[in-house]
Symmetry: C2
Subunit: 417 residues, 2 copies
């Protein structure tokens, strides 16, 4: 056994909690869970007294390099923010800046307990380069969009697939992608779906983020974004659909039937005044709902703890999401969206684990571990992040990323905007 | 000069930012702000490179001892939570437990940048004892409520006033209080208002937290809670009215005319499914709007950074609160609610200051200090908290509270529930 966590309070499937637990890790997998010392001697022991061991969090919709635009444009709606501020700024980005912004983002993710991300951006091979170095898991895509030649995009995607799809035993996977209905056209959707089908890929898109998107789509096609995507075969592969704020009951039926994942991005959706997704309606309708931060330019954090709490408190009421439900969105459902054997502390699952220090005033006393994890913990309470059994972060130290160099480069990069 | 902050990025009034600033503190007041080294030599120098110096935050509505009930009952509405879970649990509290719970809460407050709180609870002299030791500022009250004999409450209040009103040069003040319209009666309101008028006190109450409270009050009195309070003279003194979720335009006019403060508690109001207060309507109507966390049993944090961000993203739209607006709620408007010369980095104001370490991945790059302070910073980024020129917390160490003892006592205390 490579590593043994000792004396931890372990968060097991279905929000069960095992106190004074031993959790063993071998060859990147969870191999032991119990309250007895396992027979096999461990290579290393991690003491967990006063600490909670939880499944690592899965951020199923983000744009990592947008950390470089954190705080660049705030307090406006999506349309203004995107077309008047973000798109012009993004024109100035280079491959090297995207790489730097990605490393900066990955430090934030790893330090706040995220073990896997689904990223959508351009210069995606430079995002992949950062992900490869960092040790985090990722589903990555370069979206098809605009009036651009989709044959060029398909060629680029195939190149990215050749370079990174399946890298490091599947730690990195490449998804197909359409940016959004309102930024592309049917020919592009069909090309992306074809790419996905022919290469066995999942597909990542933005869906029904704003009421304007919904209304203009209905005017243009006589169908909602989900319905028009479905008509053009986009849902013939497993889709991760970000936002899903303005979807109809019929859209929910489409997503459920096609096995798609809706990614709830509550902070970004509120901040850009897009609205609040009907999380419980989607879950009841059979949709896999996961959780994402969106990019740091519209959040302005990549802290999944903040996202869990916001999701839970926004979905209070007669049929509340609850703390356990929010945790499920950020773990089990996220892993499902990415098609990974992760998101649970269970034997045979990937050792994607986080340890949180609960010996702090804001986490005491501890009546209910799951409640405290979702409603009281912050990303900064994470003291260890492990992916596939490898420790990436421990007690404030990044073990795979040169913190000082990246902070320096990111500071310089921001001056170009 | 007692203390000089050097090389800080200082957040000045109206969200102005002064880089490479010197800020001097003497005898508990801010005495110097500039980019030149002041002539007078300081007693101590605090280096601020890479750090942001901001006004300390004012939490204008909380119940400090309820930290002991953090995570005790979640995922239900206010009525169920309060009457079926919280009130029965509170029956078990003792003076000593209230003291312990208050110290636990104050550690959380101080470590996350809060310099002053408005607290409402029972055994309030034990809350005051904790506040006195901690060095934080506080407006404290023991609410009048129920069918209880208000003469007893008045006598108790006068005793509390004698003990603590004006303590340590006004660091502690005692407010009069009515718990809420739905938990009391006109005779009690009048007694509380009389107590306030006769002793020159402010008054703290809960107001229109839920739609049920509003509806039942209208049925009972033919008036909204604000209107019926006004009829009975409650607003004849400066009032801090917590929640104000379900208030009418006429209520807004009453609050504005009477110079009352509405305390926005966005996290607690969402978590208990009470709704979202119309912050911008109240501000436009001339009401002083401040910010509070409510108690840790309904939040479940006392982190004002979380509260600022939630307030700002909930009030996006055509007339957004904005980051600067949220900061104002948590500083200037909070100090105004408490009647204090605090909440601003300005010469002559109380030296209630917080220093934040911005040399962290989630706070870089720094395009906009105010945006990053509100949208990206967490309470855990605070590395120094100063009240009246005295440092209460620095680099994780509490200088006035015995952290280990309080955590131990709080853990024991939780076992009684």
């Amino acid at each position: 056994m490579d590593t043994l966590f000792r004396n931890v309070t372990a968060v097991l499937p279905d929000a069960a909690v095992l106190k004074y637990a031993y959790v063993g890790v071998d060859a990147g997998k969870i191999t032991y869970i119990g309250t007895e010392l396992p027979a096999e001697p461990p290579g290393g022991v991690i003491e967990g007294r006063g600490k909670v061991l939880a499944p690592g969090l899965v951020n199923t919709h983000t744009h990592l390099p947008m950390t470089l635009l954190r705080g660049f444009a705030d307090d406006m709606d999506l349309q203004t923010w995107l077309f008047q501020h973000i798109f012009p700024a993004e024109d100035k980005l280079t491959a090297e800046l995207v790489y730097t912004g990605s490393l900066l983002a990955l430090m934030e993710c790893i330090a706040s307990g995220t073990v896997s991300v689904s990223d959508m951006y351009f210069f995606e091979s430079d995002v992949a380069r950062a992900v490869a170095e960092s040790g985090i898991k990722a589903n990555l895509c370069r979206p098809f969009q605009g009036e651009e030649n989709h044959e060029v995009r398909t060629r680029e995607a195939l190149e990215l697939i050749g370079q990174y799809h399946g890298y490091d035993n599947g730690r990195i996977r490449i998804d197909a992608s359409v940016h959004a209905e309102y930024t592309s056209s049917p020919a592009i959707w069909e090309a992306a779906a074809t790419l996905a089908r022919e290469n066995g890929l999942r597909l990542h898109t933005h869906l029904s983020e704003t009421v304007r998107e919904h209304d203009e789509c209905v005017t243009k096609y006589g169908l909602t974004p989900a319905a028009v995507f479905d008509r053009h075969g986009l849902f013939s592969v497993p889709v991760t659909a970000a936002h899903c704020v303005h979807i109809t009951d019929d859209d929910i039926a489409i997503l459920a039937e096609r096995g798609a994942t809706a990614v709830h991005n509550p902070v970004s959706n509120l901040k850009l005044n897009s609205g609040v997704a009907r999380v419980q309606a989607m879950r009841k309708g059979g949709v896999n709902v996961a959780l994402g931060t969106d990019g740091a330019a519209s959040n302005n954090s990549l802290d999944m703890f903040e996202e869990m709490k916001t999701a839970a408190i926004l979905a209070a009421g007669d049929d509340p999401l609850t703390a356990a439900g929010a945790l499920r969105l950020a773990t089990v459902n996220g892993a499902k969206a990415q098609g990974r054997e992760s998101g649970q502390i269970a034997v045979g699952f990937d050792a994607d684990l986080i340890l949180l220090d609960f010996d702090k005033p804001h986490l005491q006393p501890l009546h209910n571990v799951i409640s405290s994890l979702v409603y009281s913990a912050r990303g900064s309470d994470v003291c260890l992040t492990m992916v596939n059994g490898t420790i990436l972060y421990r007690d404030g130290e990044f073990l795979t990323i040169d913190r000082e160099r990246v902070l320096r480069e990111a500071g310089k990069a921001a001056c170009i905007f």
